[in-house]
Symmetry: C2
Subunit: 327 residues, 2 copies
């Protein structure tokens, strides 16, 4: 019997999940659940669309519900709520709030006997695995996470909220000289400014004051003030044409010492280069939805993270097959 997947929320991430499920022959799509009017939503592959408020009637028809809302306001409410009825997985990525979100989802799952996973994607997700594996193997060392080159949606949104800005995209770019130092085995400490550059491509409304906008961006606390930030003003046409899509990626690199007096260096690097950030995140969610189903069938309840999942639970292949062909 195939694993029955539901998609809750249908933006870029939900569309990515729809495409990804179709690549996995052991899964089937039950439907897309939206807060919009279902008749106004057209899915990529004719997946049925239902009103989000009817989700409760699908309680026994979905094995895993993939919650595709945003981390700022959707997921903190949706995932704990839905975890009372379904096995759920989300890609919650506000790092500072992960422990609180975990507790909320865990409480719902334990109360209702479901199995849930949060923060599944590439960071948090694959990069989290890279950080854990590499620091346990090389306990004496430093771990560096570089993001980009890619579009940061949170930072793009922050620029769009500035008065006079019509549209914007922010590219995060690792500083090449620092990446090279770390790849060469440096265990130095680097400032935010030494790690990443932020390039902003901004469309302004007619008559807006460009120098004020540039100043507001460069000095924006938390987002830009500690980074080397460049601002370029472009037309909407150029933004649409030359800065389309949601590419992203990055690297987790750990350099650590081995041997007598740590005289040798070992470097572990996990890198991603993604044409589509939401599609890749969706692919990770779908792989972990498989693991979640199995763990639920094993009797595991409560909230989990990527750290709890034995890697073999992700694959459709048998133990014998992975030992023979992948190990």
């Amino acid at each position: 019997m195939k694993i029955r997947i539901g998609i809750y929320g249908y933006g870029n991430l939900g569309r990515g999940v729809e495409s990804s499920v179709l690549q996995n022959k052991d899964m089937e799509l039950v439907g897309v659940f939206t807060r919009r009017l279902p008749k106004n939503v057209t899915t990529l592959f004719d997946t049925p669309v239902y009103n989000a408020k009817d989700i409760g009637t699908f309680k026994d028809k979905i094995d895993v519900l993939i919650v595709c809302g945003g981390s700022a306001t959707d997921l903190p409410i949706q995932t704990p709520f839905l975890a009372e009825m379904f096995n759920v997985v989300d890609s919650f990525d506000t790092h500072a709030n992960i422990p609180a979100h975990f507790d909320n989802v865990d409480r719902s799952s334990r109360l209702c006997g479901t199995t849930s996973m949060i923060s599944v994607g590439w960071d948090p997700g694959i990069f989290s695995l890279g950080r854990l594996y590499s620091e346990t193997i090389l306990p004496e060392g430093n771990t560096y996470t570089f993001w980009g080159e890619g579009v940061s949606q949170g930072h793009s949104d922050a620029i769009r909220r500035i008065e006079g800005v019509a549209d914007a995209k922010q590219y995060t770019i690792p500083v090449p000289a620092t990446v090279e130092k770390v790849r060469a085995g440096s265990t130095d400490t680097f400032s935010a400014r030494e790690m990443h550059t932020r390039e902003c491509y901004v469309v302004v409304k007619d008559g807006a004051d460009k120098s004020r906008i540039e100043r507001e961006i460069i000095h924006m606390p938390n987002y830009f003030e500690n980074h080397k930030t460049t601002v370029a003003f472009v037309s909407q046409e150029v933004l649409n044409k030359d800065f389309s899509g949601y590419p992203h990626g990055g690297s987790v690199i750990r350099a650590g010492k081995t041997g007598v007096d740590g005289k040798s260096t070992g470097i572990i690097e996990c890198s991603l280069k993604l044409d589509s950030n939401p599609e890749f995140t969706a692919s990770v969610l779908v792989a972990y939805a498989r693991a979640l189903t199995r763990l639920h069938n094993d009797g595991v309840i409560g909230c989990l993270t990527v750290y709890d999942i034995p890697p073999k639970y992700l694959t459709t292949k048998s133990d014998q097959e992975i030992i023979k062909n992948l190990l």
Copy 2:
């Protein structure tokens, strides 16, 4: 109580384990077990040395025995034998024989209630994880494993067995143009010759026929005949000075398709750059020895691989700590 580690076999790998255990504060070294005369063996950090034939008397004094023999003739016998008395972990790396070795070790462990792990290191090991994670996340794609640049001990040994050769080291080097194609998203098939070059540095005995030796190397079946192979003759002094140590590394790279009609590409890369192949392998063995102890305490018996281990079992940190600081 600390995890009590024993080291069975004391070559480069055993010495690496000794150094690695000292980096992990939750572990202690019980002793080194050797087939040589213990009084002739000096350990790096004054770890006690015992005769391998006395290992049985340590049955209740060791939590995990790390078996540091060679894959060709030692481990196929030692690991199944020792798994009857101890929780054991080894770095068995003869890929073709892994299923048979697994079955032998599994049988011993199940018979005697121990927990064992085989093929723990970087390949098999970390690269095996890279292959599984990446193919489950990107089911439509191709995975490539590049080894090097580094010293291949099996190939160096093969050269040394040729008549007239006094010493030799073989460096495996990925073909840069192929690595670049794969990193750019190619999913083409490449021949062995297109993937790796083999550079051989050979010291000959007085009066040996260099052209015959070069021909024998280049045409050696399985080892060299399908690769682009270069042979350079050097003096023993140059070999010792310029080609010392056991550096190695490499990359597992998977390029896969995401989205509608697979029009986007995602690339996952896991890379290692190691000054010391045996010291890094030892570090992986030690991290998994921790996981093995926990699984044994959980009541798991039989033989396991890296695919069975939830990542969190590798760390000394609490669930709360890794969720807060690493996820």
